[in-house]
Symmetry: C2
Subunit: 256 residues, 2 copies
């Protein structure tokens, strides 16, 4: 039974894409069939896995507006067990194009139904906004991972995000869970980091991942080579952090 996880936070630059790529790659290298879906017009997930977004003719845009199937937009990647549905620039206009479509929040959910038997995990990367693309991701997902950079503005934005999740649960997807809050870009030497981290643990309790993803230059370098960090430098701290995150996801999703 596939598990669909959206990676969402309207705050920019908190590590959504880095988490989507590296969590998915970590699940794949432990031999779980995994699909990454890039729902961001910036297409960072796409380029971070070695694809040129301008070349993506069959992308999530065409899937969402219904002109092709999710199957036909799927690409295999350098990583065994890891596939990708890329984004391209046309996605910029998608939110406006689908605004009058009936069930406009459910388009991604429906498109992904054909793929449920092919994967153990589907990971969806979201743009930094709470618009229709993110709402589609939250409607399609079983759960959401919220990456949070341990700094003030990211902490402030959580209220809005949780409110959106509540609304999606009430109107579109009653089963939407919070998989967990993931502390990212953490710098243990900084008092601000630790203050924000304790604030988050106080509020979210056991829903915070035990793994904290530290600032690690390899995670920023890897996408410039079009590789997840586990292919770029498997021994570095960043790779080990995301393998640990994958382990936590697997642990909490073992069907008895």
């Amino acid at each position: 039974m596939v598990k669909i996880i959206a990676i969402a936070n309207q705050k920019g630059g908190v590590g959504k894409t880095t988490t989507a790529i590296n969590l998915a790659a970590s699940l794949a290298v432990t031999e779980h069939r995994t699909l990454v879906v890039d729902m961001d017009p910036q297409a960072n997930c796409t380029s971070g896995l070695g694809f040129d977004p301008r070349m993506a003719v069959n992308s999530i845009y065409e899937v969402v507006i219904g002109s092709i199937s999710a199957q036909s937009a799927t690409q295999s990647t350098e990583v065994p067990y890891l596939n990708l549905i890329p984004a391209n620039i046309n996605l910029v206009g998608a939110e406006f194009e689908i605004i009058d479509v009936p069930s406009r929040e459910c388009l991604l959910a429906r498109a992904l139904m054909d793929l449920h038997t092919q994967y153990e995990f589907i990971i969806i990367d979201c743009p930094p906004s709470l618009g229709l693309l993110t709402v589609n991701a939250l409607t399609a997902a079983d759960s959401v991972i919220i990456p949070v950079q341990a700094e003030y503005f990211a902490l402030e934005g959580l209220g809005q995000l949780l409110n959106t999740i509540k609304i999606v649960r009430r109107r579109l997807n009653p089963n939407l869970d919070i998989e967990g809050v993931l502390l990212t870009l953490f710098d243990a030497r900084l008092r601000l980091s630790k203050q924000v981290a304790s604030e988050i643990k106080r509020y979210f309790g056991s829903r915070v991942f035990r793994t904290i993803v530290r600032r690690n230059i390899r995670l920023a370098e890897a996408p410039s080579f079009g590789k997840p960090v586990v292919l770029y430098d498997a021994a570095c701290k960043g790779a080990r952090n995301y393998l640990a995150v994958a382990q936590e996801v697997l642990q909490s999703n073992i069907t008895p």
Copy 2:
């Protein structure tokens, strides 16, 4: 004659808001009448200057949809010579609400016309997207500052941003200039930072600010106190960096 500068980059977390707040505050402390306009539904600029976005009854949202004047939405701040038009959460829906309005890209430009004689600088903070809010900012602006974090994904996104600027010039605002590209969150010890920085200098040449804004924890701490860094810790590197950016802006805008 007022100078209107938009701070734009669809990449998240590259220091748009930090630049908007601290450039504006630096212009104000050198006694230039300055207005900050928060065009981001996240309202980070608003909270970073000490206001609660949920309390912002007269915000840029009401201004853009035309129900109040820009004048009546203006608040004074803790900083002499610095005013703010705050954002609030309603701005999230604004892009959809204004989509069928005639001249929907020119709403901000028109609203700001009444204020031209009151300020020397108007600084507009944009959300991490190339949607209607950012396009309104680019249409209202004389020039745009592009903050760029010296990492791979931020470098990749520049093409899309420059394309949007070109389209705005052609169709809406022929006078739109690039004030400059500002390197932000720079870590001089990292080879990646230096590689991306040289790539940017190679492409943009003299349009890159001489000042490079280094990573400095004071810049991340200040908004949690609702203050620009020049009020929080005037002597720190971050404050000096942004005072230097303000100097460069003043130098290139001295009317002969």
